[in-house]
């Protein structure tokens, strides 16, 4: 019996250590510290809901308030190194690839802030 319990313990411990060693947590770099539009906990859980509602308000009714606007997210969160929210350590993509959630906003939307966009360049 004791031997069985010891074996179980070994297996469990190995399992835990494996689970922790499997994937590195994403590096979330906040380069422009300050208050986001909601508390961090709320943003982590619900940012997609805010974006979805704002998307319909903007598209259908022409309401372009900066709060919850995707362009405003990009303006603030784009990396100063790459100029983008995409890339391995990009603010959006870093977390999304860790969570295994497909991120297709940026197939159409600009991942770079306005001053780095094609229009701003000569």
């Amino acid at each position: 019996m004791l031997r069985l319990a010891a074996a179980l313990l070994v297996v469990l411990a190995a399992g835990f250590s494996l689970a922790y060693a499997r994937t590195d947590k994403p590096v979330v770099v906040i380069e422009r510290p300050g208050q986001c539009v909601e508390a961090t906990e709320v943003m982590r859980r619900d940012h997609m809901k805010f974006l979805l509602h704002q998307r319909d308000r903007t598209m259908r009714e022409g309401i372009r308030t900066p709060k919850y606007s995707l362009a405003a997210c990009v303006e603030c969160h784009a990396s100063t190194k790459t100029g983008s929210v995409l890339g391995q350590d990009g603010f959006c993509q870093g977390c999304h690839s860790y969570a295994g959630v497909k991120l297709d906003c940026f197939e159409c939307h600009a991942a770079k802030p306005k001053h780095l966009s094609a229009q701003a360049r000569p």
Binding site: E61, G62, I63, R64, P66, C108, H109, A110, K112, A118
Partner: protein, 244 residues
């Protein structure tokens, strides 16, 4: 009060009255153009254009170039399928030989066929009369491309990069002239093509609120004869043409 000072007072009073009379007109235009960012587009406004083909120069493509720049449309090396929001057409009367040219884009119909045929509700008309594609719900079936009598819709065939923040575009969706909706929502009260035409000195494109009798476009529509393209379809287009 001497006669002189009374005259002076009357003059000032008349000037003040004139100021009041002018001020409401200007305010009306301002209100129509600039909407608060949190205020939804209103049905009181109907955005539209008058294109005076007599002033449109054959060979000039400034409106097309300006549209491409404003909306980030690039040449993808596939000219037959590249998106085209506005195009110049050349017209020739075979009997008289009279030639003229005009830009054609989405006519922003009051009764848009593209909206009727859309199976997902992606093609829609905004309250202020602008016909748009909600690319979040567009499935790329291209029914609207077929339904539009003006060939105003384009399908995006290629992967795109470097889109502008104000104009999201992507492969697999249909798009067309938005009447520079991002500029309207910003309160610019003008479109890239109208600006370019004015800058080129032609002023063939006049943009404005068709519902506002004080607006430049309404005034011009009252003054010169104009028509809807394919008026027989009774689509009540927002873009009107003079001289065709």
């Amino acid at each position: 009060m001497s006669d002189n000072s009374r005259r002076g007072f009357l003059g000032t009073a008349a000037a003040a009255l004139a100021g009041i009379a002018i001020a409401p007109g200007i305010r009306l235009i301002e209100l129509a153009g600039a909407r608060a960012p949190e205020e939804p587009a209103s049905g009181k406004v109907r955005w539209g254009m008058l294109i005076d083909t007599a002033k449109c120069a054959t060979g000039c493509t400034d409106c097309v170039t300006a549209c491409n720049k404003e909306n980030g449309l690039h040449d993808t090396g596939q000219p037959r399928t590249d998106a085209q929001w506005i195009r110049k057409i050349d017209l020739k009367d075979l009997r008289s030989g009279r030639q003229h040219s005009a830009p054609v884009m989405c006519q922003h119909c009051a009764e848009p066929p593209c909206v009727d045929v859309c199976p997902t509700g992606a093609s829609f008309k905004r309250a202020d009369g602008i016909v748009l594609v909600d690319k979040h719900t567009c499935i790329g079936c291209r029914y609207c491309v077929m339904a539009c009598p003006y060939k105003a819709r384009s399908f995006v065939h290629e992967n795109l990069t470097d889109q502008l923040p104000a104009v999201p575009r992507g492969k697999g969706t249909v798009e067309g002239c938005t009447l520079c909706v991002h500029k309207i929502d910003r309160g610019d009260g003008t479109t890239a093509c109208a600006d370019a035409c004015k800058a080129a000195g032609h002023e063939a494109i006049v943009f404005g609120d068709l519902n506002d009798p004080q607006s430049e476009v309404s005034r011009r529509l009252r003054e010169i004869p104009s028509r809807h393209l394919r008026g027989d379809l009774r689509l009540n287009t927002g873009v009107r043409y003079a001289g065709v």
